[in-house]
Symmetry: C2
Subunit: 562 residues, 2 copies
Amino acid sequence: MKTLLKNGTVVNVFTDSLCEKDVLIEDGVIIGVDSYTDTEADHIEDVTGKYICPGFIDGHIHIESTMMTPTELSKSVLIHGTTGIVADPHEIANVCGKAGIEYMLKASENLPLSVFLNLPSCVPSTPLDESGATLTAEDLMKFYDNKRILGLAEMMNYYGVVNGDKDVLRKIEDALAKDKIVDGHAPLLTGRELDKYVAAGVQSDHECSSFAEGSERIEKGQWVMIRQGTAARNLEDLIDLFDEPWNRRCILVTDDKHPSDIYNDGHIDAMIRMAGAKGKSIPKAIRMATLQAAQCFGLKRMGAVAPGYRADLLVLNSLEQVEVRDVYCNGVKVVNDKKVIEIKEPELDEAILNEVNNTFNVEKQSSTDFIYPEESNRCRVIRCIPGQLLTEEYIADINWSENNGIDLNRDILKISVIERHRNTGHRGIGFIQGIGLKKGAIASSISHDSHNIIVIGTNAEDMACVANCVIEQGGGCAAVCDGKVLSKLSLPIAGLMADLSAQELSRQHEHLMSTIYSMGSSEEVAPLMTMAFISLTVIPYLKINTFGLVDVTEQKQISLYV
Amino acid sequence: MKTLLKNGTVVNVFTDSLCEKDVLIEDGVIIGVDSYTDTEADHIEDVTGKYICPGFIDGHIHIESTMMTPTELSKSVLIHGTTGIVADPHEIANVCGKAGIEYMLKASENLPLSVFLNLPSCVPSTPLDESGATLTAEDLMKFYDNKRILGLAEMMNYYGVVNGDKDVLRKIEDALAKDKIVDGHAPLLTGRELDKYVAAGVQSDHECSSFAEGSERIEKGQWVMIRQGTAARNLEDLIDLFDEPWNRRCILVTDDKHPSDIYNDGHIDAMIRMAGAKGKSIPKAIRMATLQAAQCFGLKRMGAVAPGYRADLLVLNSLEQVEVRDVYCNGVKVVNDKKVIEIKEPELDEAILNEVNNTFNVEKQSSTDFIYPEESNRCRVIRCIPGQLLTEEYIADINWSENNGIDLNRDILKISVIERHRNTGHRGIGFIQGIGLKKGAIASSISHDSHNIIVIGTNAEDMACVANCVIEQGGGCAAVCDGKVLSKLSLPIAGLMADLSAQELSRQHEHLMSTIYSMGSSEEVAPLMTMAFISLTVIPYLKINTFGLVDVTEQKQISLYV
């Protein structure tokens, strides 16, 4: 069956140029980019006045952060022109271990969206964490024979790499020996320490938050993944990397993006649109998001509209607006005039579903669990930075007499992390600034990377109530005020993902977000996403886990009290 | 053992920029590019005022055309900064078959020069040829497991690819299935035919002789190999490909270059120098010859001075002049102040040596063998084009009465190809214009790709004499005048390569060339190299084999007589 896209303007990612050509497709492959007569194809699509470009590839995404199953995710990103993703299933792996990776492989099999996986390199993210599972180098090895496994995902333990931790290096060596790639994650690492990290074989980084950080990595041979997610939005700070020569070694990724943000703003298309709005070349940005993403991961004959390339391509109404009309995956039209054609959910066997659907093991909480001992008036407070995952340490004078230290005027709230995998009763307590809640409490079973229950609140009663709401749902998020559940989102799959359609999930998620905003927080803060990373002990500086505060730079627990 | 190159200026191929840095090497790998103190290394090399750049990679070379053994070749190109080559052993394969490939693999094992091979795709080059061996798809398969085999070499049978020849496509599919690359060779192929050829999986071309030809291939996703050899010198015609965006998809190759040319002009360094002299950016040209060559062939962590990269690097006295002072291969200094350090010849077992050293099977020639029947006064003459492998057909009135049709005034000489592998007695006869001999005759057992004996002469007696001189040597080249051998070069290895040092070979080769020039030919013509390609029936338009003239476009024998 030959399909002919006629009279379009092709975006050539080898030359960053536009050219009026017909595109002939057969058996999922582009067999010609030239001029053809209608008699030479079985099916003709007139795309006069439209643009034809390669499908976009998201080089680093955590499917769990979209809260969608792979099938629902594919529906919601395909309409935005994303035809391939490289996912790191380390959230579900932190909860379910190997079964989590198996679930992601099976649940993403034979979708129109090309789903590649990298193996979680740090489960748990650090020895400080209490996760639901541990993945050793041996655990990972068996997965490398799967063609959809491209390598080892973000090596967050740069401390271990730089200091020659045997188990960490073993995982890297295994990946390289299997001729696979190793992705990085090393915020603020620089100079000779960065050299050691790169020399170990780590080929990329998606944590750059400044041009200096990005350009240094490019000079040292790494691929820089320009990230624009929900909480971490680096595109504007890295906008100069869209210029030559830097753009030759950059690709575009979302990392962690909420369902409603994908639904409302878009995906990789939104990043290209943004770059264009900032005066950067759209064809070059498209090259970064297609051909270069493929090159970064050694994906052959993907990412271009050229003979012999896989027919993953887009028909755009507008180049400037990156307005996606139709999408072809492997030569088959899957999005027609902005509507996705029905996608069949892969069938999963019961054993895997049981593993990922029953992951909670924790007692009901009471308000006394959230009353802190008054040991000192000077305490360490976690200060959030809007639009970043980095946090600062701020030493505050705590007035214990009033609401056990909570001070709404200074926006000092309580934060607590409750172990939920093995019912150990472990709980970390702390204060946080920058979330902005004026009443009630919020909680989530999404708390990177161990995904225990994280709670932020303005009073102990609501904190207990919201935590229990999450527990009763067997995972999810909720907002509570004066003992009443104002909004909740159920995430039964490993406490991370919903079994809802993208649209319904997005609706519920938006309701939850607007509820949280109505409680005093703001979109600028991205409270749920920000909260989810306050427990990630690999991103500087001050974080919190099930044992209490953590000094990330020193990689050790520190006291709440100074 | 840590080696530190101190105070150099590093050429960064990721950014096309220069930067003053120290380079730290350990166990053959670059572990840091930063500032270091002397105490941090076991051995210090002060390279103040010098440039440090990655070693050059020749992306397409026939070792046989240099007439040197791999060991001698490595000596002669290392001093010019070439630390890696991708060789196609199809000359020796046409003579010795699989044994020829085995010889090249064994003879290039563990040399400081990284020698990679692509498997000859067309042995014989076409069904018209009488070669010493035939290589089937099955014959090739066993070689793919060798890590130094990168793929399938120049697929010259583009007619077969475009028209779906099963055996040809099978060879391509095998290479791609083994996750290897397929190099191309398709002079003048364009438009939809080229699309078909590229769509089959052919990733490169080294036969471009115009910007239009090169840019079309780049637009269609191929790598363009800019070639500057002895006879085929395309760099000047392709000079604009050194500009953006074209240079991103180009690499530099020599293909076929004579020993004295390498000895006198240089290798890849000469091409970069030439591009610089024509006003092109030297750092970009270096990027094309290093990082991009590695990318073209999927060679990981090669082709850059960056952490984790293989320590194949050069110390240059001058960037503009690309003046190579020292060369490091895998971290070991192999060229010191322009002098190559002794290289040990790999040991070869007798069986292989016997196979490649006894390849002649042909009777002694007599002058009557070179007297042509006078069937018509209008004959087809092969017309050479200086600096190109392309030939033209020229219909000439032949005056048989005088010297059996030879006409020195019009530079119409006799050319003959004598089968020499199986003593079939087959001989092709024809006329040639553009060689310029005024007396005597020249002959060579280097005649692409079948490597029968090719003879060009001004009279039958000298043609017989020079052919016999080649036969007596068991392979080689010679120049004869008035029955006297004026100069000869013995090439006992498959009739293609000498067992001489690069210097001695170069001396003898220069003597032979100057002798041929003294007989009337000129350097501009490159008579030996040009003669060697007159029998290659895959390069348009008029060629000659052991059965007579060949119309390359039609791929059929045609009569000498019109």
